[in-house]
Amino acid sequence: MANQMVTASGDVVALEPGLKGVTADWSSDQRAFKNVPWGKAMMWIFLVSDTFIFSCFLVSYMTVRISTTVPWPIPSEVFALSFGGEPIPLILIAIMTFILISSSGTMAMAVNFGYRRDRKKTAALMIVTALFGVAFVSMQAFEWTKLIFEEGVRPWGNPMGAAQFGSTFFMITGFHGLHVSVGVIYLTTVAIKVLKGDYEARGNYQIVEITGLYWHFVDLVWVFIFALFYLW
């Protein structure tokens, strides 16, 4: 499938595989990304730029954490939560991670049903994905509230250790939470349009895959934040 392309006039053209294909694709007329609709290419390019933004945050977090002479607060203890008994380390963050991964799974299913032109299942799965997103943001709001009002963490300092902990935490998780919130709005909008049959006329459900790319990216960023901020 990756080695042939259907042109606008309906002809099937063979494409070169491998490295030769890279040079052939890039030096060809009009479009470098064969079989990739422009909307999807644009979303990928946006995601690359977003990668750099999140990387800047994570690299600056690394920089302040290396350079501080005050001990860094231990995330495992800061984010522990007790349900009556002994506090369980990082439990809320673990649940949030599983929620986001589940939402990625339902999103992948939605894309699949979109291409099968099963409108109801596609829209339903996208709404489920959005609801997982809402659950994630709600838990994050709970986490922030606990951190601000009970632990006394502020962007300029905290009782546990290095002052930079608060600023990096609020910046990184805040920006990620914003992405999740925007994703929820984006998903809901597209789900409603799918349900109304707006894409039925052209039978083109690529928009679901493009929305999916954004959502998977949000999950991807969380993988890095979870590993580098919470576990490190």
Binding site: V59, S76, S104, M109, Q206, G212, V223, A227, L228, L231
Partner: protein, 106 residues
Amino acid sequence: MAHVEGQQHPIAIYFKIWGLLFVLSFFSYMVDYLQFEGYLRWFLILLFMFLKAGLIVSVFMHMMWERLAMIYAILLPPLCLLVLIGLMTMEADYTFLTRVLFFAGP
């Protein structure tokens, strides 16, 4: 036109990857829960992180089915970040050193 453009793959592969992601997340949580320390901890965190990231990008985001021209255009530019990480590590070490020298006086 009978041709269907877009990525269509059997649902089974998504379920497998979904399961794998759950297992890997559980492992990375266990790294913290079992309180591994030092290089073993950092190695395991990074290992599970890259495995999860790889699975999400290649299967969920369909990168493994794209053409090489696309894969290179998207995945190679972020490698520049390695240079930034290297530079900032050096810078941070230097800042740490000067702070130790000037703040930790008697």
